[in-house]
């Protein structure tokens, strides 16, 4: 087995049942070493259950998964020694200093005492906190807290890192610095799984796995998902009133989907339908004052909503 080519995280038919409820349903996923993978899905889709299994905290009902080369079912202790975890709530102690927090987490993660000074120095440098070792964490700005939390999560050099909505609510510049750190860690070979609801966080991932009702429904780079995920062309329609416009377009031939977006509509057109040329007629028939129609690049949110509702339509039709 070659550790450089073997996936850092691999799930094979991974499943979890709670009584009659199937939370995770035959999930197959391979995340390469040094990859930043986004894990996205609606509430209750099975993201947290999957991550708890990856962390060795919950035993699979069927199938298997390995993390950093260890089986999550039979070697859960080894798995836990080789992962880092950081949630959006940071779990730092506000009434302890920066140094005290690092010492605390170093203890929890059993960082050997001979490595401790070097690891805390690294975490401090990475977080840009040098010279603030004795500041109370509660007095730090959000961006610093977040980088310190990341520093605490990687004190023990875990090869695999799980992040849960890591940059929600953080100031934009600080958030960009954070993602730079993540990409630096990935370049050093750390594998990172980011679970999030926020599509702007997903854009920083090399690949995205989309999960819905316990099943994996799409995997690809942000560019691939944007190019193929909608199943049609996205156009933006500026018109008034929007309510009547939606009624005019929903279900019309060649229209896959129509949704209000800001003061415009986002409309997905089928490749084999009448296309953009068919829209003005449909709108005028409903008394909608039509404005500019232009082709736009879909956002990951457009793709996500489309893929999830397509799944719901298929279930409804079945």
């Amino acid at each position: 087995m070659n550790p450089a080519t073997e996936p850092a995280v691999a799930a094979r038919g991974l499943s979890k049942r709670f009584g009659a409820f199937v939370a995770v349903d035959h999930l197959d996923l391979a995340i390469g070493r040094g990859e930043v993978m986004g894990f996205i899905g609606p509430n209750g889709a099975g993201k947290s259950t999957t991550i708890r299994m990856f962390c060795g905290l919950l035993a699979p009902s069927a199938g298997s998964a390995s993390v950093a080369g260890f089986d999550v079912g039979t070697q859960s202790q080894r798995v836990r020694e080789h992962i880092g975890y950081m949630s959006q709530k940071f779990s730092l102690y506000g009434d302890l200093t920066v140094r005290e927090n690092l010492r605390f987490f170093g203890g929890i993660y059993r960082v050997p005492s001979r490595e401790f000074a070097e690891r805390t120095a690294f975490a401090m440098r990475m977080a840009g906190l040098e010279g603030r070792e004795d500041a109370l964490v509660a007095t730090l700005a959000g961006g610093w807290k977040q980088r310190l939390a990341l520093g605490c999560a990687i004190l023990h050099r875990p090869p695999v890192l799980f992040l849960d909505e890591p940059t929600s609510g953080v100031e934009p510049q600080a958030r960009r610095q954070f993602w730079d750190l993540i990409h630096e860690l990935a370049a050093d070979g750390v594998t990172i799984l980011v679970s999030t609801h926020y599509m702007d966080e997903a854009e920083y991932c090399n690949r995205i796995a989309l999960i819905d009702r316990g099943r994996l429904i799409a995997v690809g780079s942000p560019t691939e998902l944007r190019a193929h995920g909608l199943g049609g062309e996205l156009v933006e329609v500026a018109c008034e009133p929007l309510g009547a416009a939606i009624k005019a377009l929903a279900g019309a031939p060649g229209v896959i989907d129509a949704a209000i977006f800001g003061d415009r509509l986002h409309v997905v057109l089928a490749a084999d339908g009448p296309g953009i040329g068919g829209l003005p007629g449909l709108l005028q028939a409903r008394g909608v004052r039509g404005g500019a129609i232009r082709s736009v690049a879909p956002s990951l949110e457009d793709v996500f909503v489309r893929l999830v509702s397509r799944g719901a339509d298929a279930r409804g039709a079945a």
């Binding site: 889709a45 100031e171 510049q173 600080a174 991932c205 942000p222 949110e301 999830v308």
Partner: protein, 313 residues
Amino acid sequence: MSVDTGEPAVSVQALGKRFGAVRAVHEVAFTVARGEIFGLVGPDGAGKTTTMRMLAGVLRADSGQIRVDGVDVLADPERAKRHLSYMPQRFGLYEDLSVAENIFFYAELFGVPRAQRISRSSELLRAAGLAGFERRLAGQLSGGMKQKLGLVCALIHTPRVLLLDEPTTGVDPVSRRDFWAILYELRETGVSIVMATAYMDEAERCSRLALFNAGEVSHCDTPARLKAAMPGALVSITTAAPGALRGVLAGMPGVLGVLLMGDRLHVRVDDAPRRLPELRAALGARGLTQARVETIEPGIEDVFVALLGATAA
């Protein structure tokens, strides 16, 4: 849009609030027209929630003026509360009461006449997609449904102005889109909405935005005009191993910033027509002739960073 030519829905002038030595809100001013969805955008701690609470009349301003639906909030907060509704980040639903019981509780609180309660409640439940769930305990609803129930409760007294503080935090994109569909319907009935959000993609959907930074409003305009005001232009470069290119591009003339995304780089340049050929040449010199180089529309976050630059964080 049918905008009333009369008084704005919300007008704020020279608003200020200190907490001890901290200047939480300073000289904030904006107006919200009727039927607008107005976004207060900025990071945590920028003053959004403090401003929101002052608008709602639950926190007293140190200085300035606030008028909501024609009522002076500082002079008569109780009267203002009949014209507005405030949905804080943690809206107080009673988890051990049913959906219908929560709604009736708020109807009572807001003094909605009994005769109107039933019809208003069923109309709102239908709009929110919650019809049929009246007897379910609020604690047993999904996150997205709880959010919608909060909105129904906040709307039970037919307010003219709705104040929402980060209404979709923790709500998934599908539920979030449903929630927005309800907001758009409300807007068409003439309700004005002021919303605070830390999420830049949510900000894109507002009719106008106030960018909050360190307690002040630095810019206020439509998303499209804010994007047009961004200094320079944004270029996307999609190529294998974009991380390795970053340092090379960052040092080129006219490059104002380079951001590493998951599978591409976002490069902000001073002048796109002039710099695109130079970027392509630099890529070509490294054998990357297959790289896709294109000008893209900036997001609100790009605008925010470009206009405000690096702040202390």
